[in-house]
Symmetry: C2
Subunit: 328 residues, 2 copies
DNA sequence: CTGTTAGCGCGTTCAC
DNA sequence: GTGAACGCGCTAACAG
């Protein structure tokens, strides 16, 4: 089905078909200077033949793909679902399709695939040159990262640092045996916002750092569960766990329950991210997080996808603590 | 960065650049009849300029996008993650990028976006004409569905029916108060494979069907959780729950635990799908499911994406029951 | 006001 | 190793 076949069937030129179906240019009736009757006939034929323009061909001329790419590292994380859902809701009504790239190397994919806007949820600060290069090629990026400047691409961040301080303060009000469940990356301080508050919080309370109270996991729920088990399945287990993501906190709760520990009594757990899933689980999860974050991401992406050319910005979100059953 | 700029810089024609960089056609050295030295120079220039071909332009000529589209209805379902992970693993090494379409109307997206192969995880039988139309346009579809014939598109199914019979038999060995947690769609018998075994199983055991032992949920985990609560939070609660997905079963376990019920003692829960998450949760989930399913899906998709033109097939997977703690 | 002609953009590939 | 046509849709310029 090409535009040419539609034009033939309708007895007009391809130009007329294009004008009518893309609704661009010319008169405000949306027919681009084509008589109403003709426009109607064209639409009828296009409908009958099931024609719809080849996006690739269109892209070559217009530079637009009507697409937003979401590069998400950990799809199993409710955080990712939050992003997807918000973007979906905002973009679909405008005819923009959100495509998800799971846990892949965004750099290599971005090289070839062109979306009108791209969201990247995990870029180490070292990738800044690469990101700048893409931005220089005219790709519109929105990067979720806590340390990068807005060097040609938007940076959206949510100040996890102060938020995590709140989480630790909450636990320190009742506990001294506090373990941390975090990612390897975080632990190496390539992402200090979530790890440092643990160290500083203990130090401020005069509690020494214990190596066997530090457990790390990689991106799979399985490994978070195993890491939590390592912390809990022994005599000198901690009385509280500070988990650097909600999903890890949920795994910790599962592990604790498996061991017969009562959450909120034998063990307090605090997560980071304040996801809906955490709020809903039993027991509900105490967590720190931003408010309105997903909608802001969606809003920004859609604006950029529609060609907003204003200077790149850094957008911050304040965090607060949501106290629930897992750490009363 | 276009092919023309690379050609200029290297002092050759665009044809030579294309031959070298796409590695197609002609001589087996992969240079398409371009001298080694020239090929080297071209590669060097392309690398220096950071060139990479525009996929849209390439698609217009070759008809290939090097892309597989996965239309997945419920990303939060571990089942979806299983599909993604398997396809990722199989496709990436071949330079094929899997793109995910979350919970969207595949029909409208498919109209415009062209992937080399498309996986659709939820198509009601009524959509057959639409699917056939797409297949007729040369789109390669793989549909996960239990009733459709292979009408121009591949159908992969896993005989949930017999599997669910196993699940019910397992519960009927110990219980008479068995509730079902299922989707609205399933209940209307638009997907009888998972619902009918419940009805038939009870009938065969001479147990009357009770309307208040039937609870339905839609695609969100929240609603599965709420549905489970409706079943459990009352005096005449069932002693076992047959959930038509693993993710619903997990929600039921959470709900039961919140109510203080002991899983495997006060309440048995069986899921459908046999997901890794279910296996890992505490208590581990008894479930029925196929073996090797994800890899088969990935294998088929990749073959189709690479142009396999053999007749469309229906592929079946036998199911078995995996007995674990949630229903010993 | 209605419609067409023709060239563009980019990578591929046939014929020389 | 190259020239040039090709595929598809968009749109400026032009003609009735």
């Amino acid at each position: 089905m090409t535009i040419k076949q539609v034009a033939e069937q309708a007895g007009v030129s391809t130009a007329s078909v294009s004008y009518v179906l893309s609704g661009r240019s010319g008169s405000p009736d949306g027919n681009g200077g084509v008589a109403k009757a003709t426009a109607e006939r064209i639409r009828e034929v296009a409908g009958r033949l099931g024609y719809s323009p080849d996006r690739a061909a269109r892209k070559i001329r217009t530079g637009r793909t009507e697409t937003i790419l979401l590069s998400l590292t950990m799809l199993s994380d409710p955080w990712a679902l939050g992003v997807i859902e918000a973007v979906q809701r905002r973009a679909m009504p405008l005819g923009i399709t959100p495509m998800i790239l799971a846990d892949a190397d965004w750099a290599s994919v971005l090289r070839g695939h062109d979306a009108d806007a791209v969201f990247i949820d995990a870029a180490s600060p070292g990738k800044q040159p690469e990101l700048e290069a893409f931005a220089g090629q005219g790709k519109r990026l929105v990067v979720f990262q806590e340390e990068l400047p807005a060097a040609g691409f938007d940076v959206i961040r949510s100040l996890a640092g102060p938020g995590c301080v709140l989480a630790m303060q909450h636990l320190l009000g009742k506990h001294r045996e506090i373990a941390i469940l975090t990612t390897e990356r975080s632990r190496n301080n390539s992402d200090p916002a979530r790890f440092q508050p643990y160290v500083d919080g203990l130090a401020a309370a005069g509690i020494p750092l214990r190596n066997n109270f530090i457990a790390t996991f990689d991106r799979s729920p399985a490994s978070a569960y195993a890491a939590a088990m390592r912390l809990l399945d022994r005599a000198d287990r901690p009385s509280a766990i500070y988990a650097t993501t909600d999903f890890a906190a949920m795994s910790a709760v599962n592990a604790a329950q498996r061991l017969g520990l009562r959450i909120g009594t034998d063990l307090d757990v605090v997560g980071v991210g304040n996801t809906e899933e955490g709020e809903r689980m039993a027991p509900s999860l105490t967590s720190v997080g931003p408010e309105g974050f997903f909608d802001a991401v969606a809003e920004l992406l859609v604006r950029r996808a529609q060609g907003d050319d204003s200077p790149a910005r850094v957008i911050d979100f304040p965090w607060k603590i949501f106290v629930r059953e897992s750490a009363p």
